[in-house]
C-alpha cells in the first residue's frame, strides 16, 4: 500500500490486555497490577496510545478468568472502552465481546452506544466462546454430539453462528434510517415509522425481530474486526468483518495468510470494501540491542513457560521492529496490531520509539486527520441497507 503518509504508510493498532500479553508481565518492574481494575490505569494506556497517533486500541474480554500468571479476571471491555471515550479524542476504541452466549441485540446497542459516546470511534471484535467451561457460566447450552472434547460445538458451527450474530448486529445498526427522527410538530410525530425497519432475521441459531432501540450510530456501521485463527474464522471474517487480524509467523507466512483472506472473500462472494488486513505481533521493545530478548527470557523463566499463543513474538529495538514491519507490509497488509508483552513498558516502546522511527521513514502519520475510525481505515460511511428504495422489499421494511 502506498501513498498514505507521503510514502509507504502503515496502520498501527495496539491490543491492550491486563498487565500485558506475557503471562509473567505482572512481575515486571514497572507493571501496575494493583491498578488493573481502576479507570486511571486504562485511561493512562489509552492516552499513551493516542499520544503515539495509533489507529485504535483493542480491549480483550473473555467469559472466563484468563489463565495468565497470578492475575485473574478482567473488566467488561465495552464498558472499559466507553470509560475511555471522553478522555480520548481521536483513537479508535475496539472492545471484544462474546457472541456465542451473549445476545446479539445487547451487543448491538452496546457498541452503538459506544459509537455515540465516542462520536464515531467505535469498533468491535466478536469472539467465539467454544469452551464447555464458559457454557457452564450460563447453564443454557450443552455440548453438541459433534463437539470436540471440552468444546460445545464444532469450530465451523460456532463461526457460522458468530457470522449470524454479526449479521443481526449490523442489521440492527441500520434498522433506524439516519433521518428517522423527524420532530414534525404539525403532525405530532417524533419519528417517521416508515424509516424504522424490522430486521426479521431468521437463522438456525436464533431469530431477531428488531428494530433496534438505539438510533443509527454516528459511523452508520461501527468497524467490525475478527481474529482469523482457524479456517472457519477466515470465512467468518470474509462474511462479516471490516478488519481481519492474522497471526502469521514469517514473511512468507504473511503472504500466504493474506492470500487465504482474499480467497475467503471470493468464496463468500463479498462485495464492497475488501477486508483491511492487520498482522498480530507480540512485541518486546528496548533501546539496547539484545536487551528485549534478555528481558523476555527472564520473564519466561519467572513464568516457567512463556506466551502460549500462536502469535509471532518480536524482541529487539524499535529500528529492528520498523524494518520488520516495512518488510511485512509488502506482503499485502494494511497494518499491524501489536500486543505489548509488558504494560506500560512495551506500549511506550511503540509510542515513543517505534512511532518516531516510522515517522522518520515517512511510513506513519504525524497527526490525526480523520475524526471517525471508519474514515481512518479508508472506509466510507455506508448508506443504510434499508435506506435505498430498492432495499425496502429485501429488508422486511416496516
Amino acid at each position: 500500500m502506498t501513498g498514505l503518509y507521503g510514502g509507504t504508510g502503515l496502520h498501527l493498532a495496539v491490543a491492550l490486555e491486563g498487565v500485558g500479553w506475557h503471562p509473567a508481565a505482572w512481575r515486571a518492574p514497572d507493571a501496575r497490577p494493583a491498578d488493573l481494575f481502576t479507570a486511571r490505569y486504562w485511561a493512562d494506556l489509552a492516552r499513551e496510545a493516542e499520544r503515539g497517533l495509533l489507529d485504535f486500541v483493542t480491549i480483550e474480554d473473555a467469559l472466563t478468568p484468563r489463565p495468565s500468571g497470578r492475575l485473574q479476571g478482567g473488566l467488561d471491555a465495552v464498558l472499559v472502552a466507553a470509560r475511555l471515550a471522553p478522555v480520548t479524542g481521536h483513537i479508535g476504541l475496539v472492545p471484544t465481546t462474546d457472541v456465542t452466549h451473549t445476545e446479539p441485540f445487547h451487543v448491538s446497542i452496546g457498541v452503538a452506544s459506544l459509537d455515540f459516546a465516542s462520536y464515531g470511534r467505535a469498533g468491535w471484535r466478536p469472539r467465539v466462546s467454544a469452551g464447555v467451561r464458559e457454557a457452564g457460566h450460563f447453564g443454557r447450552r450443552r455440548a453438541s454430539a459433534a463437539a470436540p472434547p471440552g468444546r460445545i460445538a464444532s469450530d465451523a458451527d460456532l463461526n457460522a453462528e458468530a457470522a449470524d450474530a454479526v449479521e443481526v448486529v449490523r442489521r440492527l445498526w441500520d434498522s433506524w434510517q439516519d433521518d428517522a427522527e423527524i420532530r414534525d410538530a404539525s403532525t405530532g410525530r417524533f419519528l417517521d415509522r416508515d424509516r424504522l425497519h424490522y430486521i426479521d432475521f431468521e437463522g438456525p441459531y436464533f431469530d431477531v425481530r428488531g428494530p433496534s432501540i438505539t438510533p443509527r450510530p454516528p459511523q452508520g456501521q461501527p468497524v467490525v474486526t475478527v481474529l482469523a485463527d482457524s479456517p472457519p474464522a477466515y470465512e467468518f471474517a470474509a462474511r462479516g468483518a471490516d478488519v481481519v487480524y492474522l497471526t502469521p509467523d514469517s514473511r512468507a507466512g504473511t503472504g500466504a495468510a493474506v492470500s487465504r483472506v482474499r480467497a475467503a472473500e471470493a468464496a463468500a462472494g463479498r462485495g464492497g470494501e475488501p477486508l483491511r488486513v492487520f498482522a498480530d505481533l507480540l512485541v518486546f521493545i528496548d533501546d539496547r540491542p539484545g536487551a528485549a530478548a534478555v528481558r523476555k527470557a527472564r520473564l519466561d523463566e519467572l513464568d516457567g513457560a512463556g506466551p502460549a499463543s500462536a502469535v509471532e513474538v518480536f524482541t529487539g529495538t524499535a529500528a529492528e521492529l520498523a524494518d520488520l514491519l516495512e518488510e511485512r507490509l509488502d506482503a499485502g497488509l494494511t497494518g499491524f496490531r501489536l500486543r505489548p508483552g509488558v504494560l506500560p513498558h512495551d506500549l511506550t516502546g511503540i509510542t515513543r520509539r517505534l512511532v518516531p522511527e516510522l515517522q522518520r521513514r515517512g511510513a506513519f502519520r504525524t497527526a490525526y486527520r480523520e475524526t471517525t475510525l471508519r474514515a481512518r481505515l479508508g472506509l466510507s460511511r455506508p448508506e443504510g441497507r434499508y435506506s435505498a428504495p430498492a432495499a425496502a422489499t429485501t429488508g422486511g421494511g416496516s
Partner: protein
C-alpha cells in the same frame, strides 16, 4: 425527632409523552452531550444518583411503531460508564432487565461499572415476560408472567453470590456454583469485587410481589407515589415489610418519581405547568392515550370533542411494550367518564387532567418547603426527578431549589463520601445475610 435528610436523584427524560420534544429548548435525546449536561447538572446539585431507564423493544400501538413520543436510547451501562469519566461523585444507576439477561454477564458488567466509577454503580432490577420483547432475543417469550419475580429474585441472589465469590483482599478468586430453579451455573466469575462490594440495588415494581422483593433485597425503591396520601400509604406499607427480613426500615430508601415546574409566583408556575401539560398531550397523543385505555382504534374521534360512547375492548389491547396500560382498564374508563361528565372535559382536556400532573408546582421556596415536608412526614426518603426537557430540564431545580434545601439544612452542601452507598447512608452489603433470609422465605 431529628430532621431527616432529603435524597435527590435525576432521571434522564423518558420515552413517553411527558418528555416534550416540540419545545425549542428540547435537544437531542441520544447525543452524548445531552447525557453529560444532565449528569453534570445533577452532580452540581450534589444529587445522590443519575438514573437511566431501559426498554428492549420500541413501543407499538395498533400493531405499528408508536411515533408520537421521543424514542431512541443508548444501552444504559455503556453510557453510564462513559459518564463516569465526566463526573466524580454522582451515583450511576442502570436499568437492566432480569428476564432477557444472564447473571454471569450482568454481575460482571455491574462490577465493572463499580470499578470504573470508583464505587458509584447502581442496578435497577426490572422484569419483563412478554413474548413481544422476547422477539428480540434468543429465547423468545420463555417466561410465564407468574415467574417474572421468582426469576428476578434468584437472578439478584445469584449476582450477589458472584460478587461475593471474590474477597475484598483478593484471596478467594471467583469460584462459584449456584443451582436453583432458574439458574444452574458453576465455574469462575471473571471480575473482582467492586469498591462497593455490591452495587446499590434499585427496584421499581409496584405490585405486592414487587414490594416484597424490594423489602427483602433492595436498597432503593423507585415508586410512582409522589402525592402525599398515596405516598404515605406506600411508604408505610413497604417499610413495614422490612423487619421480616431482619432489616431496619432505613435500609431501604423510598424515591417516588416526581416532576416539577417553577415560577416567580404560584400563579405563574401554575400557568407554566398548564402550558407544559398541553405540550405533553397534543391532539394525536390524547387519542393515542385513549386508545391505550380503550383497547381499540379511536382515530375517528375529535380530540376536542367528548369521550367515545363505544365500550372499551378489554381483552387484547392495542398497546405493546408499555407498562401503564396494564392496570384495570375497565375501571379507568368508568372513572374517566365520570370525570369528563362532571367537569365537561373534551378528550384532550380529560387526558391532560387525568394523567401525569406535575408533582411540585410553585415558587422555588414553596417547592423546597414541600419537598422537605414530604420527607419529614413519611411520604418519601427522597425523590427522583423526571425532567420534561432534554438536556436543560434539571437546571432550574439545581439553580433555585437545591440551594434552599441546603439553607434549610436538609440537603448536603457537598458530598461527604465517595461511593453511592455513602451518599445513601447504606452500610456495606450484607450479601451472605440476605441470602440466608432469601432461602428462609423461599
Amino acid at each position: 425527632m431529628p430532621v431527616r435528610q432529603v435524597h435527590l436523584a435525576a432521571h434522564f427524560p423518558g420515552v413517553n409523552n411527558t418528555t416534550v420534544w416540540s419545545d425549542p429548548a428540547s435537544g437531542s435525546q441520544i447525543d452524548f452531550a445531552s447525557f453529560v449536561h444532565l449528569a453534570r447538572t445533577a452532580e452540581r446539585g450534589k444529587f445522590d444518583f443519575f438514573f437511566l431507564a431501559e426498554g428492549l423493544r420500541l413501543r407499538e400501538m395498533k400493531g405499528r411503531i408508536h411515533d408520537l413520543d421521543v424514542a431512541g436510547r443508548p444501552e444504559s451501562l455503556t453510557v453510564l460508564s462513559a459518564l463516569a469519566a465526566v463526573t466524580t461523585r454522582l451515583g450511576l444507576a442502570a436499568t437492566v432487565n432480569s428476564t432477557f439477561n444472564e447473571p454471569y454477564e450482568v454481575a460482571g458488567r455491574l462490577a465493572t461499572l463499580d470499578h470504573l466509577s470508583a464505587g458509584r454503580a447502581a442496578w435497577n432490577v426490572v422484569t419483563s415476560y412478554d413474548a413481544f420483547t422476547g422477539e428480540n432475543f434468543r429465547r423468545g417469550g420463555f417466561l410465564a408472567e407468574a415467574d417474572r419475580y421468582t426469576r428476578a429474585a434468584e437472578f439478584l441472589q445469584t449476582a450477589r453470590e458472584l460478587w461475593d465469590s471474590w474477597s475484598d483482599d483478593g484471596g478467594a478468586e471467583g469460584e462459584f456454583a449456584h443451582s436453583g430453579r432458574h439458574f444452574d451455573i458453576a465455574g469462575r466469575f471473571g471480575t473482582p469485587r467492586g469498591p462497593q462490594g455490591h452495587p446499590v440495588i434499585i427496584q421499581a415494581g409496584d405490585s405486592a410481589e414487587g414490594r416484597e422483593f424490594a423489602a427483602s433485597d433492595a436498597d432503593v425503591i423507585f415508586s410512582r407515589h409522589g402525592a402525599p396520601a398515596a405516598g404515605r400509604a406506600f411508604y408505610a406499607d413497604v417499610k413495614r415489610r422490612l423487619p421480616r427480613y431482619g432489616r431496619h426500615p432505613d435500609e431501604l430508601k423510598i424515591f417516588p418519581a416526581v416532576t416539577y415546574v417553577l415560577g416567580d409566583t404560584e400563579e405563574d408556575a401554575a400557568e407554566r405547568a398548564a402550558d407544559i401539560r398541553r405540550a405533553q398531550v397534543g391532539p394525536e397523543t390524547a387519542i393515542a392515550y385513549l386508545e391505550g385505555v380503550w383497547g381499540r382504534d379511536l382515530s375517528a374521534y375529535d380530540p376536542d370533542g367528548p369521550l367515545p360512547d363505544v365500550e372499551p375492548d378489554l381483552d387484547e389491547g392495542v398497546s405493546k411494550g408499555r407498562a401503564q396500560f396494564r392496570g384495570d382498564r375497565g375501571e379507568t374508563v368508568r372513572r374517566w367518564r365520570t370525570l369528563a361528565a362532571d367537569r365537561g372535559l373534551s378528550i384532550r382536556e380529560l387526558v391532560i387532567e387525568a394523567t401525569g400532573r406535575q408533582t411540585f408546582v410553585g415558587t422555588p421556596r414553596s417547592v423546597a418547603d414541600r419537598i422537605d415536608e414530604f420527607v419529614q412526614t413519611g411520604v418519601a426518603d427522597g425523590f427522583i426527578f423526571v425532567p420534561h426537557l432534554t438536556p436543560g430540564g434539571l437546571d432550574d431545580l439545581v439553580d433555585h431549589v437545591v440551594p434552599l434545601l441546603q439553607e434549610k439544612g436538609v440537603f448536603r452542601s457537598d458530598y461527604t463520601g465517595t461511593t453511592l452507598r455513602d451518599h445513601l447512608g447504606l452500610g456495606p452489603p450484607r450479601g451472605a445475610v440476605r441470602r440466608a433470609h432469601a432461602e428462609a422465605v423461599s
